[in-house]
Amino acid sequence: MKRLLLLSLALGLAAMTAACGKETATAPKETNVSVAKNTSVTTKETTETTASAKPADTAAGETGSTRTAVNLMAGPYSDAKPAGQLPQNTTVQILERRGGWMRISGKGKTGWAKLFQVRTGTGPEAQKSGEGLAILRNIGETGRSGSQGIVATTGIRGLSAEDLKTAKPNPQAVAAMDSYRASDGTARQYAQSAGLKEKNIPFLSP
């Protein structure tokens, strides 16, 4: 449910950015997406990525697009049987992730693709907003969504190369870091409480 809300927010943002003069690739249609309790915005989306078309029970409930032409596989491994091909820039639904693989569905075909073959996010406009949590953060900060609750893509409170070159030391902050340190015992206990179990694994060769 929360994911759906975030998704709606992302779509709302995409629409606002689109409304600022950028056209989406395919013919847009008008829909109303409820963004938050008291807010709703008119949004433009591509016909392939309407919110209603997304199954709510998918693992990630998200869409993506293929970076390159993809040879889909029937299973999440390289020597699995082929399961059809998708051209570059196909909008796909991400159904499941397993290791370095994603099960995706698009143009009537479903199969496994490698992570790097799929761009996540609903499209070039939504990508500007970052991920759901970034939007959540702004709601948290401003207490509401809408135009003022949307993540700005320029003029952020950022850290630039110039900031690093002109930085003056902040020894108080370094001292504060000492107080946050965790002992080995604390770290071990915290890991165990989350069910993490140590493994002996050799490093990977290049």
């Binding site: 970076r67 992730r97 290791g99 370095g100 490698k114 992570l115 790097f116 799929v118 761009r119 996540t120 990508q127 500007k128 970052g130 991920e131 949590l133 970034a134 959540l136 953060r137 948290g140 900060e141 893509t153 003029g155 952020i156 409170r157 950022g158 850290l159 630039s160 190369a161 110039e162 900031d163 690093l164 002109t166 930085a167 030391p169 902040n170 902050a173 370094v174 504060a176 870091m177 107080s179 946050y180 340190r181 965790a182 002992s183 080995d184 770290a187 071990r188 915290y190 890991a191 989350a194 069910g195 993490l196 179990k197 140590e198 493994k199 694994i201 050799p202 490093f203 990977l204 290049p206």
Partner: protein, 289 residues
């Protein structure tokens, strides 16, 4: 032996290059001086490494302060310390910090000061992603990537050679120059090969610590899906190889060797609760700049 080779090399260059006749007169003494300067630099002691790393960390925190949320900072230290315990350098004085900036980035200074930005943390979905990014940075420290980059740099290399024990050199102007030049490498970035190596090592560290090792690839996929024109990623993208390439290389290296650990915990609930309570109390820190 090396000096002889050098003399021969410079001699050969001098003979082939179209230089004025006066430049062809080789001064053996001068060449010997050059040879001295080119000898391998002194390897700083672990104490030097920690001193320098702490002072570079002070500069990084001058550029971007810590998030004022002790619970969040302690959380990141517990996760980071647990990963660091699975390296070859578990006894370094590891420190972890979340920087209060919207930029998406992570840094590590020599000796074990590891930073992740709030902008990056808020784009993550679970603790295995945090563990993966911290493990990548921890790998840079363990393999001394930043330290060696500083030593290879002409200015910092020379300065570090001139100085004795760093802790005792702290008042000297040469040391101050070393620290500020050392900070600048974070504006330029490390070798691409170092980044790929830290990805390969990081996923193993995460798996050793019991996490799903695909946390780091998941973050790389998030990064690869952010519009490169977004201000939040400008420094990160300038200083790192293409995220898509990193994702491809690291997942290819993992295939058949780490897939079997993909069912280890991602630790989603704990991460999500920490982030939610952080968001509820967050107030932006005052910046120095």
């Amino acid at each position: 032996m090396k000096i002889t080779k050098l003399i021969l090399l410079i001699g050969a260059l001098a003979l082939t290059a179209p230089w004025p006749a006066s430049a062809l007169k080789l001064d053996v003494e001068k060449l010997r001086d050059v040879g001295e300067k080119l000898k391998p630099l002194r390897q700083p002691s672990e104490g030097d490494e920690i001193t320098l790393g702490k002072d570079v960390a002070a500069n990084l925190l001058g550029a971007s302060p810590l998030v004022n949320d002790p619970a969040l900072q302690s959380y990141v230290n517990k996760v980071g310390q647990w990963i660091a315990m699975h390296t070859d350098r578990p006894n370094l004085p590891w420190h972890f910090g979340v920087m209060d900036t919207d930029s998406v980035n992570a840094f590590a200074t020599p000796g074990g000061y590891v930073f992740i930005t709030r902008g990056m943390l808020l784009r993550m979905h679970d603790e295995s992603e945090l563990a993966g990014v911290l493990a990548h940075e921890i790998s840079h420290v363990v393999a001394k990537h930043a330290l060696n980059t500083m030593r290879k740099d002409k200015l910092t290399g020379m300065l570090s050679e001139k100085l004795g024990d760093y802790a005792q050199s702290r008042g000297k102007p040469e040391y101050a120059k070393l620290v500020s030049a050392g900070t600048e490498i974070y504006a330029r970035g490390l070798d691409k090969a170092d980044e790929f190596a830290a990805d390969r090592m990081g996923v193993v560290l995460a798996a050793r610590a019991g996490y799903d090792p695909y946390g780091l690839p998941a973050v790389l996929q998030t990064l690869a899906s952010i519009n490169p024109k977004d201000d939040a990623v400008s420094l990160m993208f300038k200083t790192h190889p293409d995220s898509e390439k990193r994702l491809e290389l690291v997942t290819n290296a993992m295939e058949g060797r780490l897939d079997k650990y993909a069912n280890q915990p991602k630790v989603t609930d704990r991460f999500s609760n920490i982030i939610k309570s952080h968001i509820s109390i967050y107030k932006p820190a005052k910046t120095n700049n």
